[in-house]
């Protein structure tokens, strides 16, 4: 029974009609008078010094309005982690050096694409080659050339974490395993590539329409890169066709190039990344080599774990300085450990840049952990479900790495998923070539630490009540397709006791909506949600206090529900709309506005954590090695669901991505070149290959979430790969440790047990 009127209901998303009808305006749909076509040129050298650039011939191409190179920039670097100065190493328009083949080395604005392309081909570069480094191992060899001069040993960051006495743990272990796992070079593949339009207004203001997860960070980066005040940059968020982390690094090359070209020409400039640009120059999931040594006792308790992770960071930091730390922390979700030691190293290479991607290191490390857990369970003769039940975190626990977990529904999820998947019966009775497997994951909602020294990890919202009682919610949260716009309106409507339809949502525009750091780290539901709830609570408070005074009744006896304000004791009621009018009449029609913010209480880790379990059933074609995922049962504790339909969409989407991660996705690199930068060659799952996904909701409300909500859909990308790989073991009797498990791997690879 849902105790809420708007919350917890499967309200169709605000943006659905426009998207279904094709009228939703993405950045690519925007046209401005006099707009020029911008194009970027990427490096063909993976590692080289730029000695000389000659743009004279390019400038003479008819229709070309401007040609820019790194010499037209301040040469500054940027990165999303402003608080860590050493990570601000991404040079959006390379000046002196290129570090990978996705480095942008020039850009052109022209009347049309042909002129732009021709001009790009006529820019002449003189290079001094530097020895390229394509693996972390090569890069860390003594004497290797430095990719970033200030980073000795090409080490982007090294993290060592020690909790408890690991040696003692291993001594006490009944069974210890050591395994090495590898994960591949995975691309986010948002259906909409990066696109930006920039306009310049004299004397020095820039407006950007750009598909980003972090409008606020883009504003801040552009101000830094261009050397202007932050308020001189306006970032407007059109509809965005997916991000999954690929659009969360702040400013990308196209943002800076479009801004510079707009300044140079006085015209708006649009730059659209090709699919190839999207694969090569943006970001990818960190490929990892994960070594796990894990000891369990006879009862299956994990009493010691030692983890070593080597990450190919590619050419720049991106979110990588966080990634190498997070991998260590996320490995401890969702289980209890006796002792834990982690060593993580992120190395720079001349490969594409690794950064955050849906799950931000959790899918990689939790894949390794959950596959090894199955091996350990087998070793000690335990069912995979039992060993997970035994180690699962519970409400109020603190992970060994220090995450305070206010609520954890993992056990409920495990029970639900076992029930729905008919776990024991299927495990016992599936014929050869078929298998069923399980994976678990935990994931946090919104990082509480400061990304920038001067700004907390906050979210804010403004609610305005109109004269006719209609409401507008202004929020800087970035809905890039995940549905946050809709759930923020649901939260506001629930808190205010009005209908969903009474509230109009104003999307992120840094000149209009108040600050929100954006859509990364699964923060919008909890962070922006709390800010919205807070603003709505203040509007409610203003109105109820005012009407209580009018009625001469006690404020505490008043409520709003279904658009009606009432005081039961005094048997009085009035519509929200009437009350809003009365309030404004009594205040010279000053707009009734309230502001809300959320400044998370945990400044080190996170507000709360979601948990999920998936059971995958697979069928292997023993002749071809083809794996068909027949069905996935997914159970997820995301606290109080704000919109169940939206949660299901998230779960299904994460399964799609998880299957690709497990079975097919891999950017093939050769000498720093991506060999398959196209949707024809890079194998994301096609619709026909999607299995049936059954969703079961577990878990109750969380005290820190707005109305008890937690993140949904980022953590759930994690359980899919281990569930599939564990199922493959039943189907093939082979243990797979290297992703993706392609048909060739199924036939030839793996380890017979």
């Amino acid at each position: 029974m849902n105790k809420y009127n708007v919350l917890g209901h499967s309200i169709p998303r605000l943006d659905s009609p426009a998207k279904a009808r094709g009228t939703a305006m993405y950045t690519g749909d925007l046209e401005f008078p006099g707009m020029l076509c911008g194009k970027i040129l990427t490096s063909w050298m993976p590692h080289a010094r730029i000695l000389h650039v000659d743009t004279a011939e390019a400038r003479r191409v008819p229709g070309v309005k401007a040609v820019i190179t790194g010499r037209d920039t301040l040469g500054r670097g940027c990165g999303p982690m402003r608080a860590r100065e050493k990570s601000l190493d991404f040079i959006p328009l390379a000046k002196d050096k290129v570090r990978f083949t996705g480095d942008v080395i020039a850009a052109v604005a022209a009347r049309d694409e042909d002129a732009a392309d021709e001009a790009l081909g006529r820019i002449k570069f003189e290079w001094e080659e530097i020895q390229p480094l394509f693996t972390p191992e090569e890069a860390m060899k003594p004497g290797a050339p430095l990719i970033h001069e200030q980073m000795p040993g090409n080490i982007s960051r090294k993290i060592v974490l020690t909790y408890g006495d690991v040696a003692e743990g291993f001594r006490r272990s009944h069974r210890i395993r050591e395994d090495t796992f590898t994960t591949s070079s995975v691309s986010h593949v948002p259906l909409e590539p990066h696109i930006c339009i920039a306009a310049f207004e004299s004397p020095g203001s820039y407006t950007l329409w750009t598909g980003t997860q972090v409008p606020y960070l883009v504003k801040s980066d552009l101000a830094l890169l261009l050397g202007v005040a932050e308020s001189q940059v306006r970032v407007i968020l059109p509809f965005v066709g997916g991000g999954f982390g690929s659009k969360s690094d702040g400013a990308f090359s196209l943002d800076l190039c479009a801004a510079l070209l707009a300044r140079e020409t006085g015209h708006p400039v649009k730059i659209v990344y090709s699919r190839e640009d999207e694969f090569i120059t943006t970001r990818r999931r960190h490929p990892m080599k994960i070594h796990l040594k894990t000891g369990v006792n006879r009862q299956g308790d994990i009493i010691a774990r030692q983890a070593g992770v080597l990450m190919d960071g590619g050419a720049y930091s991106g979110w990588g300085q966080a990634s190498v730390y997070l991998a260590g922390l996320f490995l401890c979700l969702p289980y209890r450990y006796g002792a834990y030691h982690y060593e993580g190293v992120r190395a720079f290479t001349n490969n594409p840049v690794s950064s955050a991607m849906r799950g931000h290191t959790a899918p990689q490390v939790q894949f390794a952990s959950d596959v090894q857990l199955d091996m350990l369970a087998e070793d000690i003769g335990m069912d995979p479900l039992e060993i997970r039940m035994r180690n699962a975190l519970e409400n109020g626990e603190v992970t060994i790495a220090g995450f305070k977990v206010p609520t954890c529904g993992l056990k409920e999820c495990l029970k639900a998923v076992a029930d729905k998947s008919d776990w024991y019966a299927r495990r016992a009775n599936l014929p050869g070539g078929k298998g069923i497997g399980m994976g678990c994951a935990g994931f946090p909602s919104g990082h509480g630490a400061r990304l920038r020294p001067d700004i907390p990890a906050y979210a804010t919202a403004i609610i305005r009540v109109n004269e006719d009682g209609g409401l507008h919610l202004l929020c800087g949260a970035a809905d890039t397709g995940q549905g946050s716009d809709t759930i923020l309106v649901q939260i506001a409507a629930e808190e205010l006791g009005v209908a969903f339809e009474d509230i109009r949502y104003v999307r992120a525009d840094t000149d209009i909506t108040p600050a929100d750091l954006g859509s990364y780290s699964s923060r919008e539901t909890v962070f922006a949600g709390n800010a919205v709830k807070n603003a709505a609570g203040q509007v409610k408070e203003k109105l109820l206090s005012f009407i209580a005074a009018q009625w001469q009744v006690d404020r505490d006896g008043m409520q709003i529900q279904g658009g009606q304000i009432s005081c039961l004791e005094a048997d009085k009621s009035m519509s929200f709309k009437q009350a809003a009018r009365l309030y404004q009449e009594a205040h010279h029609f000053t707009p009734l506005v309230a502001e809300g913010s959320y400044d998370p209480p945990d400044k080190v880790y996170y507000a709360n954590y979601s948990f999920g379990v998936q059971v995958a059933e697979v069928e292997v074609n023993q002749d071809t090695g083809q794996v068909k995922v027949v069905k996935v049962v997914s159970s997820h504790d995301c606290g109080q669901m704000v919109n169940p339909m939206s949660v299901e969409g998230q779960l299904e989407g994460s399964v799609h991505m998880g299957i690709g991660f497990a079975l097919s996705e891999n950017m093939v690199l050769h000498q720093g070149q991506v060999l398959n930068p196209s949707l024809a060659d890079y194998a994301i799952l096609l619709p026909a290959d999607m299995p049936a996904v059954e969703c079961v909701h577990g878990g109750a409300g969380d005290p820190e979430g707005p109305f008890g909500a937690k993140e949904s859909g980022e953590g759930t990308v994690g359980p899919t790969a281990p569930a599939i790989v564990n199922a493959l073991y039943q189907a093939t009797k082979k243990r797979f440790r290297d992703l993706p498990v392609t048909p060739a791997q199924v036939l030839k690879g793996g380890e017979k047990k």
Copy 2:
């Protein structure tokens, strides 16, 4: 010496760079994916009943997506004066009846213009003709068919005002004159015609981008016409290429048609009025027949005036029910009267709709009054300047019709203009064929009466301070080219003690900016300006109180200037930006926001009044009758100027319009058809014909205006025509009473004296 830092400075307008560079987005520049071309069909019958419409053939035209007629509407009427139900008679898409040839009878949305045009041509109408009425006299004849059934005698409104004993006044007069004046059918001719794009979002929200002076009224009208809540309609104001009153009537036919076509097709629909549509279907200045009987004593005091005004209202009310009242009131500006009687009648005809146009009846009646005053001066042997000095209102006076005039700089303006124009010498010494003449006017700033029963005549503003100390001003005021955006930013910057560049302005968008009734009645400077000043004052108060508490000093000793907050006594200072950050840090980074409103104290008339005088020098070609205006000296009391350069632009623009009104502009009507609906045939003044305009500022600050400001540029369209006609008398010895005074009139017309 300017005591202000930002106010009173000639800061270039915010919108200048974009407009100069061609990047400013007007509605016509906007393109949306899937957007359809909308076209309207206007009636060719001036007065008829629609018996039957057949759209079947039109619908079959390839590329046509929707065809609508009045049958697709709720049949409701609208009009800007919501408080006067009888004036809500404008049916934007005619259903049963047409009342003039500008009535829109159908609209089409199609893939392109050709398909739309072809479809319009294939709609079949069956009519029942009704006797058309083309003059107020015909229309008011007993037995004439009623244009609006509920309006007997085709009288739109009749107003009788009596102040003092007019009969007694005439008895005491030394000299009495009776004269009849006529004014022509003048079009606003904004360079940008009416353009609207509408988009519909299921289940029932509409977004309009429309070039209007009154976004808020358009929203309200559309909600009424479509039968939805006001918050379901969003009106966004792109840049607007002039209005001059033509875009102040609320919703026009294109707004409703675009909205209906968008709903019908699910696609955005753009409708662009042709120049012909613009002339015929929008609005025009009321043509008037003005009879004045005026008595003066030997000293030149106006001791009695009886005025009769007959106005051709055209087919609908528009602002007309106000116009007929205002003509009576404005006639009493800018002079003192002993006694006054006014009878005004506005009649419906089957001509284009008359409504508000720059000066809203003042130019017509003040033309008559100021020309007659010259005749009276001559009759009693007085100089035109002397008789004006004698009768000019002064600070604190109340006009005979009840306008309380807090400040009136008319005498200063008269002195200044006499001085600058070398009045006495030129009057005495100009050779034949040349002449110099004078005209005066007064005009109010912003009507205080309620336009709608439920909403005061208010303006509101919101100011938000960003984390980096940058400021955003959100205001619903409609800058249609007059420069209000810029002066509102100046007002905010002055009040806050920050630089003009520190504030970014967010233009009217009813989902984002708080309510403002719009740009009519010269209200933005005083109304929106006061709301902005109020909001800025509150931001200042919040910040100063907070910092005073931090410093433990008295709030009253604190100030902000040049972006610095300081307390002189304590010798402390801090930048505004730092203070803004500190404030927000201390408040969980809740956005620092303040709201302001202005609810005018005078609920019947106006907040304050501006005054102006112009002296025109003309040269007549005695062979061709061509009149060349050689020079205009204009002096204007607009209180404290917010932006002198902008005031001058307004003054020059009003002279341009005043000359056209005096000498050339006339929509020639024949049987309800406009014979010259094109810029080739309708003679607005060409740039080469513009005289030198010299501006002199007179008058001091007004207590009710923000920093003492008053309206500028609307009232100043008034003095031009009488100044020219009075100058023509000196040049030709002919008195002209009928506008425009064309070359033919100069040669043949007028009255020899």
